[in-house]
Subunit: 315 residues, 2 copies
Amino acid sequence: MHKTIYISAPATIANLVCGFDVLGLALESPSDPMQLSLSETDGLRIHHTDNYALPLAPEKNVAGAALLALMQEWGKPIGLDLVIHKTIKPGSGLGSSAASSAGAVAGANHLLGNPFSKEDLVRFAMNGEKVASGVKHADNIAPCIYGGVTLIRSIHPLDIVPIEAPPMHVTVVHPQIEVRTSDARQILRKEVQLKNAIRQWGNIAGLVAGLMKGDYNLIGRSLEDVIIEPVRSILIPGFDEVKKRCLEAGALGGGISGSGPSIFMLNEHRQTAKTIEKIMQEIYTRLGIEHKTYVTAVNHHGVRLSDKPFTEPTH
Amino acid sequence: MHKTIYISAPATIANLVCGFDVLGLALESPSDPMQLSLSETDGLRIHHTDNYALPLAPEKNVAGAALLALMQEWGKPIGLDLVIHKTIKPGSGLGSSAASSAGAVAGANHLLGNPFSKEDLVRFAMNGEKVASGVKHADNIAPCIYGGVTLIRSIHPLDIVPIEAPPMHVTVVHPQIEVRTSDARQILRKEVQLKNAIRQWGNIAGLVAGLMKGDYNLIGRSLEDVIIEPVRSILIPGFDEVKKRCLEAGALGGGISGSGPSIFMLNEHRQTAKTIEKIMQEIYTRLGIEHKTYVTAVNHHGVRLSDKPFTEPTH
């Protein structure tokens, strides 16, 4: 009993424009390589090979908290050694903690012979999100586990609906500034105008229909957020210019990834996604803000597992 | 030039539970028979064979206002004689005015050789809704013209998205009380809690996905309105009991049709729809409120046209 599974846990975009708190999607890159091994020594040990100084005590580590939930439901004593190398930067708005939690429980499920459903895995991984942000969110975890675009129709009870989506290319820019999730949440008003809420639910209905029909034009028309983005985007320098110029260059639409500061744009064609990357780089270089960009695609499979190490980032 | 077209214009349900102001569906019955004839005498003449004492001056009649908009865009002088026999009671919440407007312009378009698109027809018919309620709504007109379930993603600009839906049986009860659309609108708060709005847009996303997947269970789970129904249902005696008992009897879900007072329930099976009709009748009989019920189905074709009179209601 010394089995090891190699894991590639993808970045995810939550709060998909008009789908605040309910719609997310998985990306091909960046992704975190992880390694989980069954051990003859009971209990859970976590090792980080990155330099983010994340807590290693299982109950304080997001992957650890997720695995502890799984181990408790499994019931029998097991030993697990987890090695994490984070490439998805914590605080980027790209679902860093969700990747750790979801990757860990997907790997453990495989090592145990797949006793758990995808919904179970989301449930376990939500304990990791609670460690990270104090709240049991599922909107990054669900796309990380299921792949593609997922709807969290309800948290209590948990109701995850995979939404079919056509191929899409995604450009992401991560301006290296800090936006705390708690700040991003506090800035939101607790009440919204009914007329804006109506416009928002017209848009999310259009977005779901556009994704399932594979109608890029309808997807583009529906990628509008009249409630969250106007408030939160003020925390992200350059946001308005990025969005305006990317739309002019042919992006379908996009917005703030998670609670920021990353900004993403969805595109029908890879060439547009690359043009847009240059626009994003040009804007943040001019603003003097360090940044990292990704040109990637929607990931339709979620966490990848392999008996051999992933030699390079999958994208 | 003395061509006549016979029209059957269906009732519609707007404000489809969580889809307030954006989602509607067409019913097989009730429907209004209409008759539209080209005449050698220019202008528009309207005749009602029902007893609702509706205005006959074209600019004050909902079908008239719709036809005038079409005639203006057509540009050339034409003569039209319209005969309307309303069976969809005005003020029932079943899209009575939309049926008149939509039926009239669909018939005229046929007589003129179909120069106009469905979207054009919706645009013309919205002038009828303006006469009826002071506002250019499209959420009854669009399903009346397109059939099935339609999403009005946006009014300005007009963006109509037909949503594929599986076969569904619909039970409707129209308690014969008056709920004025203007009252039903004034009772709504202008602001709503963000957490309720999020729940609502999770539900409408789930409903659209459920309809397009043909997943009756997901449709049922998503038929929840946490914003409008709790406020408006107090205007409809018996509402809570009707809803509770219909759900217990196996209805997928339902709610207020339009701004009421009619209540509808969607069902997977016709037998359930008939069981539910009995429950509705029992409740309103006990409450001593006159009522009319319909057991019908989603109408997937919209307005019907024929060269011969419709001999009986289509259902």
